[in-house]
């Protein structure tokens, strides 16, 4: 039997991997991938706590997180396509249009 802390440690490692990706990436599409990793790490923690305490609220929150992630991807990809039409690039440094 594996303890709850094992799941939480794996979830924390995955979350920090996603956080490193968010801090490191300059391409907007890759930045979206990193946010997906962070959402999935949170889902693992929710499911583990829900299973170990016999409470279904954690799984409910995981469902709503999945719904939020799906709608985020739909709107975000639409915005990326509009941006790519306008600027021709997805690099974050080139988007600093208000640079003085």
């Amino acid at each position: 039997m594996i303890g709850l802390s094992h799941y939480l440690i794996v979830s924390g490692i995955l979350f920090s991997i996603g956080l490193i990706g968010v801090l490191r990436r300059k391409n907007l599409l890759m930045l979206f991938f990193a946010t997906e990793i962070m959402l999935n790490a949170a889902n693992i923690a929710f499911a583990a706590i829900s299973s170990y305490y016999g409470d279904l609220s954690g799984q409910m929150f995981a469902f709503f997180i999945i719904a939020v992630a799906a709608s985020e991807v739909a709107v975000g990809l639409g915005l990326l396509i509009v941006l790519y039409k306008k600027q021709g690039t997805l690099d974050l440094d080139d988007l600093a249009v208000m640079k003085g």
Partner: protein
Amino acid sequence: MEQFAFYLFSVLTIGLFLITVLSNNVLYAMTSLAAGMVIISGFFFILGADFLGVVQLIVYVGAVMALYSFGMMFFDATRDIKERNTNSYSVFFLGGMIALLLVVMFSAPIMGENIVAMYPVPEGANNPQAVGLVLFTKYLVPFEVAAVMLLVAMIAGIILAGKKMDDSLTTKDENHEEDLTFSLKDNR
């Protein structure tokens, strides 16, 4: 057996997500992300959350990854991405430290109290039945709000991506490209 599966899955997900974060190729990053999602659904099956695992497979691997691959077709994704990274060691250090700080912050109040199940799993129901019972009684209003949110997101996606879909993104005609460079130079 359960321990073996857990350690195998955790090593595989960490490796695959590291490839996603560190690779310069969009195709490699996306395929390793999809594989990691599949293995995360394996975690859910180990934990006894069968319905959540199936939803993870359908929504993430089916819908989200398909959306990303459609998005990849719009952008020129075959070449490697050039990124100007300043100092990656400091980024790793900062990311690890911030994550550790967040874990400590959010787990400190939990450590002190005894957690009692608010909505315990109903007796004699398997996981999808229990999920249905809780979802359609205690969480009915958030469920409906989530449905409205998905509708809004669908309309926003159609309107944002569907405008002027007839002109291509990657092969621009000459005039338009000149216009673009000129306006960019103007902005600088």
